[in-house]
Amino acid sequence: MHVYALSPLLAVAGSMDKPTAPSSVLLQLATVDYLILAIYFAFVIGIGWVIRRYMKTSSDYFESGRSLPAWICALGFIGANLGAQEVMGMAASGAKYGIATSHFYWIGAIPAMVFVGIFMMPFYYGSKARSVPEYLKMRFDEKTRTFNALSFAVMTVFSSGISMFALAKLLNAILGWNFDACIVISSLIVLVYIYTGGLTSAIYNEVLQFFLIVLGFLPLVLLGLKDIGGWDGLMKNLDGYSAAKGMPGAWSHSWAHMGNPADNPIGIEWFGLIVGLGFVMSFGYWCTDFLVIQRAMAAKNMNSARRTPLIAAIPKMLFPALVILPGMLAIGLYYKGGTASMPLPIAADGNPDYNMVVPAMLAKYFPHGMLGIGLTALMASFMSGMAGNVTAFNTVWTYDLYQRWFNKNASDAHLIKVGRLTTIVGLLISAVCAYAAAKFNNIMDMLQLVFGFVNAPLFATFLLGMFWRRSNGHGAFFGLLIGTISAAIFQGSTIAMGETPSLLKGGWLGIHHTFSSSMAQNFWMAICAFTGCFVGTLVISLATAPNRTNEELRGLVYSLTDKPKEEAGTPWYSRPMPLGLLVLAGALVLNIIFW
């Protein structure tokens, strides 16, 4: 699932050395900054405490009682994703790749979010499934569900551990805080508000964090823009920087240099970008990952559930201004005035340390007061990244694994208890992962690779499941396996330029193709996995008997489900279709403006 969402975060996590006491700290906090931090976390915990008394049934705890309005779900939908990987990682990519980083939004996220809202949500929400794996059980069979639930549970708990690790590492590096204390305190805060308030608590805090990040980072962008001489000043400096890098103009255009992988810093051509990132990876993440789908499934009715990703797409497509622009500004300022104007730490390879872009910008432009706000926003984003994973984990564990395999007749009150206990256990495992990441960097890279193999093909399963009624349980399960194996074989027989063959980097089956970057290798691996799963599911489904009758498939498959109807008099902006088209048009315009 996190195959592309995770990679920038790992870059953050992997860039710093072992957690030791740093020689000099980048930021010093004043009393007012601590006060702001304390107030924020008091509110976070307070919200969990207040809503704990509304947690009466397991549905309240795991699904927010399917009662939330669309705008809250929508902000939760992007808030759950607006973790540190987005704030720190996208700024790092903005510095490294320039405007082209926006492909992750305008060709990546947006079309997929529109698709899931208009076409897939009717089945997720309408089936009354409580989780994505449960939908797979209704549509296909138990083995497909368990395969998906297990891989998802492991992945979420590791992702949460990585967030925890990256947070502790970052605070240790920039503030000199104790690594262990950061792990303990961050998990305790997340524990308290998820334990008490469940999914609602997580979503409410994602909403808070969303506004905090938007309002907290906006002045950073405005000050940076003012400093560099506005947009024109930024473009002038980026052009100077890209010319010095031997790719003239590559930092200030998103599409113009995508004809040839050698002409742009991402090292990818337009076809691999559109199909690999825009189709396979983004659809695989936004349309099948329970972490985000769970937010839409908490909506109060079908119309709200469908509008959740569509409303979320509107701020999402403007996010590059907030998360990518700081990176571009930092590199522009760095080029403009040498290290004196923008003191970016230099990494071992002689390039600026891209992962430190956000902390460096905070240190330069924010005086005490706003510094507290910026840091709180950053910490909040790490924690909501953990919380999002933990809530998805406890739901899948409780409903799809515990209730199915260990205690079929569990009472509702018992399920809440299990969910709460799972929250504790999940955070404990996350902490173990955080320490494992600190000790062995390779473990995390290895896991990310395996997640990539398992997740790359998933979208093919859902696509065939929802839109081809003849696909069946055996087809889905073995198709997934074939897709996963295709991904592994593909990775084993290719490599990125400049890498030596290894289990991690690929090429362990012999090198049959060399890509110009590991990003390109990843995109093409996803394309291969998707194709393997698609063809595998197709062939095996046709070769075996259907395992569901048409009656059983009603509400689960497109051709056997009544189209959701809007009540007469619903204004156009409350109807999914016009809203979705509007969002797509917006993304198209943005692509053209920054071509």
Binding site: I36, F43, Y54, L215, D227, K364, F366, P367, H368, I373
Partner: protein
């Protein structure tokens, strides 16, 4: 819905806004010359935080 999120959100941003404004009024102007291009960002942005908080509070109270 049980607790309107706009209530705690409004309170939080109002409190943070007031803190920023107060700090902006009483802090040494030199820190703004050093960091934020001479702009008193705490004062300016504190007002924006407080306004946002106020609007959220108003919205949460409007329907009772």
């Amino acid at each position: 819905m049980q607790l309107d999120i706009r209530l705690p959100m409004g309170l939080l941003f109002l409190i943070l806004g007031v803190i920023l404004v107060a700090y902006g009024l009483f802090s040494d102007p030199a820190i703004y010359a050093q960091h934020s291009l001479g702009q008193n960002v705490n004062l300016l942005w504190g007002v924006i935080f407080a306004l946002f908080g106020g609007v959220m509070l108003f919205l949460s109270r409007r329907k009772g």
